[in-house]
Every structure is written in C-alpha cells, then in structure tokens.
C-alpha cells in the first residue's frame, strides 16, 4: 500500500538478534553450542592462516639458508600468495583413493590428524585482551588439567599417522607408520615426564597458573629476574625441546616420511585435499608445539616486569615466532637420525635426563 507509515525499520541483523534471543530463552542449551561453534570456527580460521604463514616462512627461510630464492612469483616479489595458489590447487584436485586401501582408515586419517591439532589449540591460552576496562583470557577453555589435555591431544595425532600408513596398504607407508609408532614410544615418555616436572614445580596443571608462576622472582637482591622454567629447569628445557622436535616430526626426527628410502613414508598415497589436511596438521603441530614450549618454559605471555594486558598477545606470538625460527634452523641444518638411533636417544639419554629433571624440579619446587 502506497503511503503506509512504518513505525520502525529494522535490518536483518535486528531480526536475527530478536530471533536468537527468542530461541535462547526457549532452549537455553543452544547458547553454549552456538558459542562453541563460533569459537571453533575462529580458532580454525586463525590456525589455517597461521599455518599458511608458517609454510611460507619456512620456504623463504630455508631458501635463504640454501642460497635459493624460494617462492618469488605469485602475489609479489616475496611470493606472498604462493600458498593460497597451492591451497586452491590442492583443494580442486581429484580425490584419489587407492583400490587396495582400507577406505575407513584412509579417509579417517586426515580427519584424526587435523582434529588432534585443533583440539590441542582449544586447550591453550594465548594471552589477555582488555576491552572497556575488562580483561578477557584468550582461550577457548581454561581447564585445570590443561597441560595434560594438550599433551593427550598431541599424542593422538600418531593414531592418524598410523591409520594413514596402514590404510594405504602400501609397503612404504606401512614402514613409515611403524616408524612413527616406534619413534613416538621413544620420545613421548621423556616428553610427558618433563611436562609433569614443570607441573610439579608450579603445583598446577593449569596453563594460566604456570604462566603466572613464571612472571618474575627476586634472586640474590636482583629484581625482575625472569622465573622462566628455562632458567629453573635447564635440563627439562633441553629434554622437552628435543622431544618436541620429535613430536613435530622435524628434521632429525622425520624418519616416518623419509623421502630417500620411503618415498614419502606414511603419506605416500595421499594427494589433493586429504594430503593438504595432513600437511596442515603437521604445521599446526609445529605452531602449537612452539606455543606449548613458550607457555611451559619461556614464561608465556609475560615479561619480567609489569605491562598492559593488551601487550600480552604480541609478546606471546613474538616468542612463538622466535621458537618457530629456531626449529626451522635446526630443521634445515641437520641430517636425519636412523630410527634405532632415535630409540637409543629417547630411552638411553632423554629418559634418564628427564627423571633427573623430575627430581630436581621436585626439590626446587619445595624450596620455592
């Protein structure tokens, strides 16, 4: 009707808002579900972007180390968009499943691999954000058993690798899968013991407690000494660092996918999108492993003096970036161990050292 007067004009957003309030008042259990869903989308999105950045960083960085150029065409001089182009290529490739493959294991493996990384991210805090005078912890959840949870989720990825290797029904893949299990048994025990010693010293399994513990301490009249576990547990730092390299599948420990003898190891039959998922899950492990390292040993988002809450995120990610660069240096400047040498390293060197560190951590923890 022409000339009809409408009292108030609302947008679609208003409609959605009204509708959601209505729904939530009727079905209260939907609210946490929706929040969880949005949170999951955000963390996934951030991780994918960060993963692409780290892949680009590694390609440029390794190229610099080896006097090559690295990506230098797509998206400008530094090949900034190379990874986007690669992702588009991978996601539009034919979805190939080998005839002899076990379809459930083969298709399930990338999902488990990526899920393990994403679940890890869900348990980690990254710092604080202050909005309108109120501080928010940047984390999906802040669990009291956060350290244990993240460790457990990290360990699950080995199932993904084994499923991929076994399900591919290829000899190279099966050998790679066996290697990844053997390697995992070698490094996971010292890794867990070191994490436990960190928790023992702090007296909590909560990440926020562990980070707050590391803020600073006064020592021999010196103020603002960083109480990082790197300083309090140098042995634990070493053991954790080496085990974490193994956990990430970084260079001296990348036996499961040794290109030279096993072509591509457990991932030999994967291509296209599935391969991209596995590939990304490896880089997620690199990023999240670095996050875990910073949280446990490098004082998380704190510096040994007071600073505004909004600085915590940049400080945290700056530290993570440094750890990632250190991992890349190691990755591109060392040859690969043989699998039996990894076992020997894990059981004969790292495990005794981690036990010594546990005793040390208990003693110091009591004194502090």
């Amino acid at each position: 009707m022409i000339g009809m007067v409408v009292e108030e004009v609302g947008t679609v957003i208003d409609l959605l808002h009204t509708y959601l309030i209505h729904i939530f008042s009727q079905y209260p259990f939907l609210k946490p579900l929706l929040i969880g869903f949005v949170g999951a989308c955000v963390i996934t999105g951030i991780l994918f972007v960060a993963g692409m950045f780290v892949v680009w960083l590694e390609r440029k960085f390794s190229a610099d180390m080896q006097t090559r150029f690295g990506p230098n065409r797509v998206g400008g001089r530094y090949g900034q968009l190379q990874l986007l182009a690669d992702a588009i290529k991978l996601f539009t490739k034919e979805d190939l499943v080998p005839e002899t493959a076990d379809i459930w294991l083969f298709t399930g493996a990338p999902i488990i691999a990526i899920l393990s990384a994403l679940m890890m991210a869900a348990g980690m805090p990254f710092g604080y954000v202050e909005v309108f005078g109120k501080q928010y912890l940047m984390a999906i959840t802040n669990m009291d058993i956060g350290v244990l949870y993240v460790e457990a989720m990290a360990a699950i990825s080995v199932f993904g690798i084994f499923m991929a290797g076994w399900g591919s029904a290829s000899k190279y893949a099966v050998i790679g899968a066996f290697r990844s299990i053997a390697k995992m048994i070698g490094y996971e025990v010292p890794l867990a013991i070191t994490v436990v010693s960190a928790a023992v010293m702090v007296g909590s399994l909560n990440f926020v407690d562990i980070v707050n513990f590391q803020t600073s301490l006064s020592f021999l009249g010196l103020e603002h000494v960083p109480a990082w576990l790197l300083i309090l547990q140098p042995l634990g730092f070493f053991v954790f660092g080496v085990s974490l390299l193994a956990d990430m599948g970084s260079k001296p420990f990348d036996q499961p996918e040794a290109e030279e003898e096993l072509v591509a190891g457990w991932g030999v039959d994967y291509s296209g999108m599935r391969w991209a998922l596995i590939y990304f899950s490896e880089y997620f492990h690199l990023i999240l492993g670095a996050c875990l390292f910073v949280l446990l040993f490098l004082g998380g988002w704190t510096l040994p003096f007071d600073m505004p809450a909004n600085l915590t995120l940049p400080v945290f990610f700056g530290k993570v970036l440094l750890v990632i660069l250190a991992v890349l240096v190691v990755r591109w400047s060392l040859p690969r161990y043989r699998i039996d040498q990894v076992q020997r390293l894990g059981w004969k060197i790292l495990l005794p050292l981690s036990l010594v560190n546990l005793a040390w951590a208990s003693a110091i923890g009591v004194m502090l």
Partner: protein
Amino acid sequence: MMPMDEIKDSEMIVHLGPQHPILAGPFMLDLRLEGETVKEAEFTLGYGHKGVEKILEDRMYISCIPVTDRICYLASLSNNEVFCNCIEKLLDVEVPERAQYIRVILMELSRIQSHLIGLGEFAEFIGFMSMFMFLVREREDILTLLEMITGARLTHSFVRPGGVRLDLPENFKEKALKILPDFEKRVREDQETLESDEIYIERTEGVGVVPTSLAKEVGVAGPVLRASGVNYDIRRVEPTLVYKDLDFKVITATAGDTFARAHCRFEEIYESIYIIQQCLDQIPSGEVRAKLPKTLKPEGEVYCRVEDPRGEMAFYMIADGSPKPYRVRIRGPAYATLQALPPVLEGVYVADVPAIIGSMDGCTSEVDR
C-alpha cells in the same frame, strides 16, 4: 627376481626403483626386509639402456665424440679423453704438450664437479638437504671455469683426436688461480660442517663397509676402491698425458665405510685443485692440435683407460680402416662398483641403503650406456 613363496610372514619385499626419489637414473633394487633390516638385496639393471656402443659403430670418428659425452654427463670430458686416446694410439699421433696439459686441467675440473655432485647427493640421501645446495653452489665456480674453456656447462665435446678443440682463453690462468684457492677454502668449510656433525658421523661411520677382499673380487673402482685401502689409481698405474710429470697424492683410506668414501672424495677434490695449479704453472705455449687428415681411418685394436671421476674408464676399440669404428666396447667403473651393493646391503638398516648407494656414487646412465 626374488622367489615370492620363500618369503616368511615377518618379511616383505620392498622395491627401490625403477622409479624412486633416490635414483637419478632407473635401476631396480629389491630388498627383502625383516622389520627395518635388509635380509637380502638384489638389483636389476638395464632400464636406461641407450645403446651407445651400437651408435658409435654407425658414426664417423669425429661425430662419435658427442655420443661419448652422453655416457655419463658428469664425466663427459674423461669419456671424450679415453675415446680420443684410442684413436691417437691407433694413428700413432703425438699430442702437443700444451694440449696434454689442457686435457689434464679439463679432466681434473670435471672430476671436481662430479665429486661435488656425488657428495651433495650423498648428503641429501642421509637427509642433509642444505649440504647438497651448498656443494652445488661451490660447483658453480668450477662450471664457470669449464664454460670459459669449452663453452658448455655439461656435455662439453671438447677433446679432439690429436689435441683439443681450442686453446685456453686469454685470461684463464689469472681467473683460475683467483677462483681456485677461494673455492678450496669454501669446500673445506663445507667438509668441516659435514664431518663435524654428530648425526652425520653416527649415520656413516661403520656403515656399508666394503672389505678390501670384496672390493678386489668384484672389481670396485675409483674412490670406493681407494677408501677400502687399495692404492690404485690409473693416473699412477698407467699414466697418460702428462700425469707422470705432476705431483699428487693418491688418496686412500682404510675403513671402507661410507664416511671413508665421502672423505676420500673430498680429499681428491683438493688434490685435483693442486694438479690444476701445477698445470697452470707448467703449461708450455705452442700448438693445441696435431695435424691430422680430415677423415680419420685408423686400423687395429686398442685398449685405453683413464681415471674417470668414478674410477677406471676403459674403451676397447677395433678399427678396420674405414671411417667408422668397427666395434667399441666400453668398460665403465660404475657398473663394477655397483656389483658390491648386494653383499654390502645385507644386514644393514633400510635407512642406510640410500646412504650406501649415495656413497658408491653410481651413475646409472653410465652403468647401462
């Protein structure tokens, strides 16, 4: 082929090849594995057969030279050399002394660049990708020198019966004497980086030992033979060209493992640099090519050998007085060296297989010809 019905439940057969990332050329290596241990190895050659010997029978002598390049592109100059050597012996031609020196320089340069690629691939096979890049970067200098002389970076086709194609370029001596010490310094740096690496030492020491007896039995050649403690170098045993006037050590090692083989290659690079420097000091002026008829028609039978980067490269030529060779038989070093693989591979870990193959520096192209 391995009999499939004799395979136990705990074992499996894994094929390395014919298409596999570690193989520059195709050959098949079947490994019977129990867990990670190799129980038995068997290898099959012939996937890259080019029929070089037959092609040579159908060409004029001078047009055979580019074909000999293709036997192994890393050793093309020594292949040229041994082929031209055969013709010179049959025609009884004296090569001008300047040409002899140039040929020695060329052979040593090609030995250096071949060793660098071999070492780089070997480092890559144990997972040290960066070292491959470093050594290939150093190789660039040597290729620059080769390019100055021959105009090509690979497949040079530069040696001619009775001499070489062209004289050295004008400023070659200055340039070479400037580049080589710097090059040697950087290669020594790379060697130290590699050989001081704990993981590298753990991966290579005592791995893939070729005992002296086995090396002699199967006729292993070149640095692989010398790393097993046999002092045998064609440059010493049967010197061609001006090698008898030059001072150089024959590098040997006693261990016979992959570490020793890589070490011998590194040391040989320095010896080659020393030889080139001596040649540049001693080289006389004069002609670089003897006068020969336009169409070569040698007659008779001859067997010639030189020290290839990989060992003893020998040609047996029958010429019947026509402008084409009647028959050329090529006896390459890599084929004999690879014969040591199956016995050596027994009982090693599968991760060491690429390391051992890499340290043998086998060239499949040359093996199959």
